[in-house]
Amino acid sequence: MTPATRRWVFLVAGAGLAAFYLWGLTGLPGFGSYPGPYGPTILRLAVAQTHATGVVSAVNFEYRGFDTVGEEFILFAAAAGISVVLRHLRGERDRSAVDEAADRDVPATSGAVRMVALLLAGPVIVAGWWLASHAQANPSGGFQGGVVIATAFVLLYLAGEFLVFKRVSPVALVEVVEAVGAAGFVATGLTAVLLGMPYLKNFLPLGQYPGAVSSSGTIALISFFVGLEVAAAFILIVGELLEQTLLVRREDT
């Protein structure tokens, strides 16, 4: 298919999509007047029921907890999938591409970048840890915190060499952390079953007052496990992708 016909097919399909979108739009209640009932019901009950002042976290890790198990395992499967896809090629090193710009002069990382990246790595881990452990109180949670923690490892890569990144995040260890994070979520749900309650029922004490770090029972615990899983998954993904650039460079020499 030539680019021109491709564009025409897209325009026809796009016109159909636009018509259906406009049709759907007329059935919406209008911006700013969400009618419910699901959201308002949760807003009315969540803080008293879960002692979490972060209602989004309460939805994610309590009311829709089962969906979030699936969401977490999508990330888990993606990290595993990337390992499989890229590992398969490593065995075919002779057929893989060479660096097209082998004669390009790659400038060394400047001292300023190294310094700033090193200085930021510590605070970034603290910030990520704070996010992952405050899902019950503030706009935060394991997903956000995990990504921020993984960013600290990317900063270490920027500050040093790929080998530094590999040394501070050995694949065997990161994989164990990822497995613990994923299994911890599922095990928290199964513990409720063993105690004779429904899967993922909040079986821990809810704490003294809403919004405290120790409040909200399993919401905080699950968020912490999700933080571990997400951080490890992203470190694995980044490591796999970085290893590809290393692979090409190694072939040049």
Partner: protein, 114 residues
């Protein structure tokens, strides 16, 4: 009633789809897919918005203050996570395509090869 957020959704969706169709580079095409998916965040958050309401966090505002729908916000969070996973996986496929076929132009990747 204001339709402006939904016009933004249509625009983001449209430019993203156009980018996917006309793209000449796999990485560019993947970025266009991210743009398409971004429109769903705006749609979700727009659908759950309540005029004059606060974010659904009651840490420093009294409980039962009018707040926007927390369910669509949780869905948007799921959306972001799935997008990150899909993007990472697609980028690894782009690397594999480049290694196998020596090109990242989708127009040249015309037939399936074993």
């Amino acid at each position: 009633m204001s339709v402006f957020p939904f016009v933004v959704v249509a625009w983001i969706l449209g430019v993203g789809l156009y980018g996917i169709v006309t793209s000449r580079h796999l990485v560019h095409q993947i970025v266009c897919l991210i743009v398409v998916q971004s429109s769903t965040y705006v749609l979700l958050l727009g659908a759950g918005y309540v005029s004059g309401a606060v974010a659904p966090y009651f840490f420093d505002v009294p409980n039962h203050t009018p707040a926007v729908d927390p369910v669509v916000q949780a869905l948007a969070l799921t959306d972001v996570v799935v997008e990150a996973a899909v993007t990472a996986l697609l980028l690894s496929f782009a690397i594999q395509a480049h290694k196998r076929f020596g090109t990242v132009d989708p127009h040249e990747l015309v037939s399936l090869k074993g």
